[in-house]
Amino acid sequence: MNFNYKIKGGDFSAAGRASSEIKKILKKLNVNPKVIKRIVVALYEAEVNVVAHADKGSINAEIDSEKIRITVVDEGPGIADIDLAMTEGFSTASSKVREMGFGAGMGLPNMKKNADILNIKSKVGQGTMVELITFFKS
């Protein structure tokens, strides 16, 4: 099964829409609720990062009997130093974004903790690709 969603940069009111859809789909497929939680925590953080840091993006989710593979691709500033960005507490979020309770620098660490596999590729000035893979049975 294959699902696609679009994300607009800056549109915080729509952040979480894809995560919520994916949660419903995985529930219907009877995936372990604990595993669903981990998947949607990681996806939500990826969604919010496109909204907070990029211009626009798209999400593709591929589900088979064993796993979900999600790719979040955006057009935006990209990440110059991915290791630094992965550090807990590192954030370049604007003060407006911080006031809303985002921008604590915990998004990428949350993705790493919750997805089985996290891959990030980025080109400065072009955009970022985040891949999140999680297996339904560990």
């Binding site: 009111s13 919520s20 919010v48 309770g101 604590a104």
Partner: protein
């Protein structure tokens, strides 16, 4: 503990989903104004104590299956938040108290 019981004991204001209070079984609470912190650490069926008053709070609460959102310091939810909470069936509650005091009161209810 039933959410209805907590609302009564702590004299909380109910801004939405009053009809659900009886059916929600609460296991505790989590106090934070950082959405990623709640995403990472809050547990299912906890009450989320916060001053954040925007729609994204509902997205987080719904993804994490939280019991309710409890706004502190007499903050009133905006209409968007109330509408979304009705869709997601997650009650929004309020208190005049600051986070420390209401967290302490909830702590006493659960652990004393």
């Amino acid at each position: 503990m039933k959410l209805s019981e907590i609302v009564k004991t702590l004299n909380l204001e109910v801004f939405s989903n009053e009809h659900l209070l009886e059916d929600i079984e609460v296991v505790g609470a989590y106090t934070s104004d950082l959405l990623s912190d709640v995403m990472g650490k809050a547990q299912e069926m906890q009450i989320w104590i916060t001053l954040q008053n925007h729609k994204n709070v509902l997205a987080v609460a719904s993804l994490k299956d939280l019991a309710a959102i409890l706004l502190i310091n007499n903050i009133k939810p905006n209409t968007e938040l109330v509408e979304q909470s009705e869709k997601e069936e997650i009650p929004i509650l309020g208190t005049k108290e600051p986070a420390f005091i209401i967290s302490g009161k909830l702590y006493n209810l659960f652990y004393k």
